[in-house]
């Protein structure tokens, strides 16, 4: 085991309390950042190759640099919707190491000139939200949030916002719509949130895990971050392993750890010693891998090479007894249920697919169904408002 960047509660189980967090170097990054120029902070994050942990893997520093440098009100939003099936990583950061997220939010806010931050939390995460709120209250009291943070003259307010349980609100513009009080439906891009975001103002949305990486990057420097994980895919990654494994759970490991190592060393291998049949490597949106891909390095670029994606790093393992048709029927029903209903291809196409797959599963499949499914897919992919 290298080191824990995000799961500091594995070093000190009480790290959710401010005093313990500070003992582990907490809020040092913030102090350092407040002594730098905002541009320097953005540059440091850029240099660290930190890529978005929410799914797309977009370089975080680059995203920050898109924020305009005028004096409009700006917002920094944390995407804590964690709705991708199989994903259960962000909740542990928020409940067990919440101050690291808060510190990351303040640093990000400072770097982009945003004075208001929102954490959009999945509606089902009431316990997590309570934990995070406690930490926010502590941080306000200690002067890490609020007016004139640490005497720097920089103000930052952080608000928690509970979602209402919609998958689509994990998409950043859907999230913004929901945050503003509208129905959670993605917006047309352009304009991008960096131009027109929350309440029409410049906004950056980052995933919890991404933001939580920032304090240590600033404290220890980008060069330290670059020593972890393969080139262009630096840092640690939280892998959430579920399915037919002996020891399902979340594991913080260096980016690029092989799938085999994660499943067999950390997650305890396959249930009942059976064979692997299929693996979804990055949440249910990621294309499925077979046992031949067990040695792939779990990072953005390597998974892209084999035709899948790292997504949120949620690994769903299925052993040889799994009925793949049933899996697909279940997933297709999920996507049909969660379609926001705004644009035609997804609204009409996903339920149709779900019905066809369910028919096949029930033994009522017809010749040509597979070709039809492929054809429907083609007519949906890339022709909708949002990329989901």
């Amino acid at each position: 085991m290298s080191e824990y960047v995000l799961f500091k509660h594995l070093i000190d189980p009480e790290v959710r309390e401010l005093a313990h967090y500070v003992k582990l170097g907490g809020y040092e990054g913030l102090k350092k950042a407040l002594g730098m120029e905002p541009v320097e902070v953005v540059e440091e994050v850029k240099k660290s190759n930190l890529r978005g942990r929410g799914g797309a893997g977009f370089p975080c520093g680059l995203k920050w640099s898109f924020m305009p440098k005028d004096d409009r009100q700006k917002y920094f939003v944390c995407n804590a919707d964690e709705g991708e099936p199989g994903t259960f990583k962000d909740r542990y950061i928020m409940s067990d190491n919440p101050h690291q997220l808060i510190e990351g939010m303040v640093i990000g806010g400072f770097a982009m000139g945003a004075t208001i931050g929102y954490v959009y939390i999945r509606g089902e995460f009431q316990f997590v939200a309570d934990q995070l709120q406690k930490a926010v209250d502590e941080a306000y009291e200690a002067g890490y949030l609020g007016k004139n943070i640490l005497g720097s003259g920089f103000d930052f307010d952080l608000y928690l916002h509970m979602g209402a349980g919609a998958y689509i609100c994990g998409e950043e513009t859907g999230l913004i719509q929901s945050l503003e009080g509208h129905t959670g439906q993605p917006r047309l891009k352009p304009p991008f949130p960096a131009q027109v975001g929350v309440f029409g103002k410049p906004t950056t949305v980052n995933n919890v895990e991404t933001i939580a990486c920032v304090p240590d990057i600033i404290r220890k420097g980008a060069n330290w971050f670059l020593t972890i994980g393969p080139e262009r895919n630096n840092g640690t990654k939280i892998y959430a392993v579920s399915g037919h494994v002996n020891n399902p759970g979340v594991f913080e490991l260096p980016m690029g750890t092989s799938l085999r190592e994660i499943i067999f060393e950390h997650a305890g291998g396959i249930l009942d010693g059976k064979k692997v049949k299929a693996i979804i490597p990055g949440g249910s949106s990621a294309p499925v891998l077979g046992p031949e891909h067990l040695d792939v390095a779990m990072d953005f670029d390597s998974l892209k090479e084999v035709g899948s994606m790292l997504g949120s790093g949620a690994i769903i393992v299925m052993h040889e007894d799994t009925c793949i048709v049933e899996v697909f029927a279940r997933l297709a029903e999920f996507y049909a249920h969660e379609s926001c209903g705004q644009c035609t291809p997804c609204r009409e196409g996903t339920p149709w697919m779900a019905k066809i797959i369910r028919n096949i599963e029930n033994g009522d499949g017809r010749e040509g169904d597979i070709e039809l499914l492929y054809d429907i897919c083609e007519k949906i992919i890339g022709r909708t408002i949002c990329p989901l």
């Binding site: 049909a336 379609s339 926001c340 209903g341 705004q342 035609t344 291809p345 609204r347 996903t350 022709r383």
Partner: protein
């Protein structure tokens, strides 16, 4: 200006437009449901997808701005296939009940499916069914046909800002619902959502099962309801079938887009005023001398006698009559040395929201103001030997009405030019039958000084002739020649019907 290529043809276009707008101006059809020029861009129907060179995905023409050197393909195989896909998705749950749908014949979905769509259903699953709902006094909703383009929602959110509609539920269960039926009843613009609906999901109760649209003829007219000069598409009942109820000649008014004015909607008051043109009970169709029907010859003889009497004369123009008719009366006054007057138009308080509705309830009042014609109520003496009054009843204020009546009563030769039997015609010696709105081509000048042409699709009824023919015989061959002379002499510009075009000219 920028140079772009559409379907391999070069075009020079202005900056700041979307692909769809550019194509519309070039008469290249981009099928669309959710886009509407009077509403914000939603981009949800995905029907307008086009290929743009260098872009990995198809782009929505409604939301993509044109850029210099852009190469756009509106007719490539990928685009055709995408349109087919969208139409197939929409038709999965659509009843295809065109034979009993009132939108049939002017339905975007119907037209697009003929042009770009599928001819065979691939889904084997039953369609979802919803009940047809009468959501307000004026409007019904049929969810089965809805394509969720949200035009109606955006209209009520953005234009009238009254928010009666919203979508509820999610995914394929999404549907549009009315959260404020009373508000919709009171909304003075509510019926526009039936025009806006690209399919047959929203319709007017009044028009339901009344007429197949392909059995009507459409003419473009200017609404005479107020000074705003909104453009109308007038549907005329031209082809009778045994199944048609025997309705009057005017079937309905819908709004006609006017891009120059950026106006795409009409108020409900204007929309439902069409039925007034089907009432013929009081219609004056023959000249009347002293209240008795008379021949054209006798009427002409009376007119000649009046004009050669060398008595003093007054001509009262009308804010209801067209530029051409008023100008004919002006010419007479100038020729004979008669005094010119105008009545004061009727005013009405504005509804909420008012948008573009004007207080002055007459379409051509601005012409009188432009020519600085004195008010009839400011007249010092009311003793004239010859008085000619143009049809204006119903659009003028009471004090003007009283004044005109006294003029008529005192004159030796009192002549009115009237559409219906009225207080004016009853109090004049000679009443000449006037063509009504929709029977004669004519122009109107609206409150923002835009001169627009209204088409007379119905034509003159037997016995009814235009005023210029009564006054000047064969001197003018058509109403356009009066317009040209009017614009030359009174406005100092040269206008023709062609120049005024569909959308009018700002003066």
């Amino acid at each position: 200006m920028m140079n772009i290529k559409i379907d391999n043809k070069e075009h020079s276009v202005e900056e700041g437009q979307t692909i769809l707008e550019v194509c519309r101006n070039l008469d290249i059809e981009i099928p669309h449901f959710c886009y509407h020029p009077g509403l914000s861009i939603a981009g949800n129907c995905r029907m307008c997808l086009v290929e743009v060179k260098g872009m990995p995905k198809l782009m929505t023409a409604c939301s993509t701005m044109v850029q210099d050197k852009m190469e756009i393909f509106t007719d490539s195989d990928v685009v055709k296939e995408a349109r087919k896909g969208v139409l197939e998705f929409i038709l999965l749950d659509h009843p295809v009940d065109c034979p009993i749908c009132d939108k049939s014949g002017e339905c975007d979905l119907q037209n697009y499916n003929f042009d770009y769509g599928i001819d065979q259903r691939r889904s084997i699953f039953p369609k979802e069914r919803h009940k047809v709902e009468k959501i307000s006094e004026k409007i019904y909703k049929n969810d089965n046909r809805c394509v969720l383009c949200t035009r109606c929602i955006r209209f009520l959110d953005e234009v009238t800002k009254t928010h009666e509609f919203t979508t509820i539920e999610r995914g394929s269960h999404t549907h549009i619902t009315c959260v404020d039926p009373e508000g919709l009843d009171q909304n003075p613009f509510a019926s526009n959502i039936a025009d806006l609906c690209p399919v047959g999901a929203l319709g007017l109760n009044e028009f339901r099962f009344k007429k197949r649209v392909w059995l009507t003829e459409h003419v473009r007219a200017v609404c005479p309801g107020c000074e705003a000069g909104c453009n109308l598409t007038v549907d005329l009942h031209t082809k009778q079938t045994p199944l048609d109820p025997n309705v009057g000649p005017v079937v309905r008014f819908t709004s006609a887009d006017n891009y120059s004015m950026q106006r795409f909607f009409i108020c409900d008051e204007g929309r439902y005023s069409y039925s007034g043109y089907n009432e013929t009970e009081r219609r004056l169709l023959h000249p009347e001398l002293d209240g008795e029907e008379t021949t054209n010859g006798k009427a002409k003889a009376f007119l000649k006698e009046a004009l050669s009497s060398e008595l003093t004369g007054a001509v009262v123009l009308s804010p209801l009559a067209s530029v051409e008719e008023n100008y004919a009366a002006i010419l007479l006054a100038e020729q004979m040395g008669y005094d010119l007057y105008r009545p004061s138009p009727f005013r009405k308080d504005l509804p909420e929201p008012a948008l573009f509705i004007e207080k002055i309830k007459a379409p051509n009042h601005r012409m009188m103001k432009l020519l600085e014609v004195p008010k009839v109520t400011d007249m010092e003496s009311s003793d004239y030997g010859v008085v000619l009054v143009l049809n204006s009843i119903g659009s003028i204020r009471d004090n003007s009405l009283v004044k005109i009546l006294s003029l008529l009563k005192r004159a030796k030769y009192s002549i009115t030019f009237e559409v219906e039997r009225s207080e004016f015609s009853e109090n004049s010696k000679l009443a000449l039958p006037a063509p009504m709105f929709l029977e004669e081509d004519g122009c109107f000048i609206n409150s923002s000084k835009r001169i627009q042409r209204s088409t007379g699709g119905l034509g003159y009824p037997e016995g009814v002739r235009p005023l210029w023919e009564w006054l000047f015989g064969n001197r003018f061959t058509n109403s356009e020649s009066l317009l040209t002379q009017f614009s030359n002499e009174k406005l100092g510009i040269e206008l023709s019907y062609e120049k005024i075009g569909k959308e009018g000219v700002e003066l």
